[in-house]
């Protein structure tokens, strides 16, 4: 376990998350992709904190902020899904084409 | 290495005794309440356990096999992890984590996840319904549990359970924060879906999440519930009743006595009180319990002011 291996794991999570966020049709699955990206980001932040930050608390703070962002992302995401579903009976991204105007 | 081995053995022993204890107390209450078929409290648990152990296994149509088989084991594991966090005496703490309270707080939602998994994976209507109902209600009291536990962490100035016990040397938290224990007990009944808060495995769903399982899987599931209740009682005794503190007797004995008191109380409530209406409980949880938990937290904060 070193900074390199930790960052590679984080990179893999971000890569998979990116694939998911771009490829999924369902809103909820799309959100899962975003969550996975943030998962990688948190791991990277903690990795840097542990190996090259002399343990400064800001490293952990960043992770806490990312967690809050995740919570906000998910809450807003679900609210949007519900709102869109109410209006359009859709939970797929393509169904939103009409919203572009 | 030997220390961790002894600790693991200790947790295992408490786990086994705990399941037996829950069965004994539960049957004793049933006898006291006029249930003629409860049998001898001391021997009947062995018969029932053996009966479930030798009972044949079954399967359902197209289940999520892995989740279905794993869920009871996972639930038991989570309960065992909860037991491991309990400081049984000053020197006898299987896992004395500096963030013990947070880990306990994580075990509760994870248990909820596992209960959902158990009901969902069988691919049957009634068990699915039990799981769905349980989760939609469970989320409402997890917050209560967290606030109450932060309340006991405040005077201890630590997230470590042993520090919480030491902070009660002057006065137990049950007196210092009188709202804490009742609220916590209710959460305990919810997490082990016992009695009034049994929304997962209820009679109106023919057994809910466990309506499709038989034999050993069901035995493990029941044992998991019992251990979860024991872990809850032990954490409750630690957080509110001063844990191992007490005169004359050794700390270990005090801890066991206090755990048993909380456990007996929970089991009596489970026998006597009918299941809440889910709708009404949701209102109670958000409108009454959550504000009370806030009050408890503010109370603890004011009290902890120097």
């Amino acid at each position: 376990m070193s900074i390199i291996t930790v960052q590679i794991v984080a990179a893999a999570l971000i890569g998979i998350g990116l694939y998911g966020a771009l490829s999924q049709q369902s809103f909820v699955m799309l959100m899962m992709g975003l969550e996975l990206i943030l998962n990688g980001v948190m791991l990277a932040a903690v990795g840097f904190w542990a190996y090259s930050g002399t343990g400064i608390p800001e490293g952990q703070l960043l992770t806490i902020v990312v967690m809050a962002v995740m919570a906000i992302e998910m809450a807003l995401g679900f609210a949007l899904v519900v709102a869109v579903y109410r209006g359009k009976q859709a939970d797929m991204t393509e169904a939103l084409e009409g919203f572009k105007h | 290495m030997t220390a961790s081995l002894t600790n693991a053995l200790l947790v295992m022993a408490i786990l086994a005794i705990g399941v037996y204890l829950v069965a004994i107390i539960n049957r004793a209450w049933a006898n006291a309440l006029g249930h003629s078929g409860a049998g001898n409290p001391f021997t009947a648990p062995f018969y029932s356990a053996a009966s479930l152990w030798v009972a044949p296994a079954n399967t359902t149509e197209a289940p999520d096999a892995m989740a279905w088989h794993l869920a009871p084991v996972l639930y038991l594991t989570l309960a065992a992890m909860g037991l491991a966090l309990v400081p049984w005496s000053q020197n006898l703490v299987p896992v004395d984590l500096t963030t013990g309270i947070v880990l306990w707080g994580a075990l509760e939602p994870l248990a909820t996840v596992v209960i959902f998994l158990h009901g969902w994976s069988a691919n049957a209507h009634l068990s699915m319904l039990g799981a769905y109902r349980y989760v939609s209600l469970g989320l409402s009291y997890l917050l209560v549990s967290m606030f109450v536990l932060i309340g006991v962490a405040l005077p201890a100035e630590s997230l470590q359970f042993s520090a919480v016990v030491e902070s009660q040397a002057g006065l137990w938290n049950v007196i210092r924060q009188p709202l804490g224990l009742p609220l916590f007990l209710l959460v305990g009944l919810g997490i082990s879906f016992w009695g009034p808060l049994n929304f997962a495995d209820s009679n109106d769903l023919a057994g809910g999440t466990s309506s499709e399982s038989s034999g050993r899987a069901r035995l493990v599931w029941q044992a998991g519930r019992a251990v979860m209740l024991v872990a809850f009682s032990a954490i409750g005794a630690t957080a509110f009743l001063g844990g191992w503190l007490g005169p004359v007797l050794p700390g270990f004995v005090w801890m066991i006595l206090k755990t048993m008191v909380v456990l007996a109380m929970a089991l009596l409530l489970g026998q006597l009180i009918p299941r809440f209406s889910p709708d009404r409980f949701l209102t109670i949880a958000w409108v009454l319990l959550l504000p009370l938990a806030f009050v408890d937290l503010v109370w603890a904060g004011l009290e902890a002011l120097p």
Binding site: L18, E35, Q60, M92 | Y132
Partner: protein
């Protein structure tokens, strides 16, 4: 290889494998549980790295989040509870390419980047320093996060409530007319009113 390295390898493999399974399993409920496993594995790695509070908090946060997610899955497609296979992917190749490029780019940064070797001191108490930071120098950041969360909560409730700005959703929530009794300011989706409800099937 030490014990810690072994655990790290196992957890890293679990995190990546289950993260990948999220997008190729055939049920959304399963997907959310795979995501949870991935998070738990990352939480364990954080514990190994010494972030005691963060690792455990991640378990807590993610268990609740994934539970809500699974609940939503079931709510939106109750029968048969997401146990039927499905396939719902678009721009598959492009997305895969983007993922691979991102992975290699970030890995390259990790491998070839020159990071200072300043490990955290072994006597550092991560929980205490984090607490002091949160309620000390970075109070503003922390409080902002809290206020943002509160605002989110209120906004989310308002957004998902069936009572919108213009009345009940199921009573055909419509904005008032531009002039009294006139056409609504925004007439919604026209096709919906002419062709009835149409469901999107993909």
């Amino acid at each position: 290889m030490s014990f810690v390295d072994l655990i790290f390898l196992i957890c890293g493999a679990i995190a990546i494998f289950s993260g990948w399974r999220v997008f190729c399993t055939d049920s959304m409920v399963r997907a959310s549980f795979f995501l949870l496993i991935s998070f738990i594995a990352v939480g364990v790695i954080m514990l190994l790295l010494g972030a005691v509070y963060l690792g455990v908090a991640l378990f807590f946060m993610m268990a609740v989040e994934m539970m809500v997610m699974a609940l939503f899955m079931v709510m939106f497609m109750m029968n048969p509870a997401g146990l039927n296979p499905m396939k719902m992917v678009h721009q598959d190749k492009f997305a895969a390419l983007a993922g691979v490029v991102a992975f290699f780019a970030l890995s390259a940064v990790a491998v070839f980047g020159d990071f200072p070797d300043q490990p955290r001191p072994s006597d550092l108490d991560p929980v205490v320093t984090l607490g002091k930071e949160l309620l000390g120098d970075s109070m503003l950041v922390f409080e902002s996060a809290g206020v943002t969360l509160l605002a989110t909560m209120i906004g989310v409730v308002a957004m998902s409530s069936h009572r919108g700005r213009y009345g009940d959703a199921n009573a055909g929530s419509r904005p008032p007319g531009l002039e009294p009794g006139g056409m609504p300011a925004f007439s919604g989706d026209q096709e919906g009113s002419s062709g009835g409800h149409h469901h999107h099937h993909h």
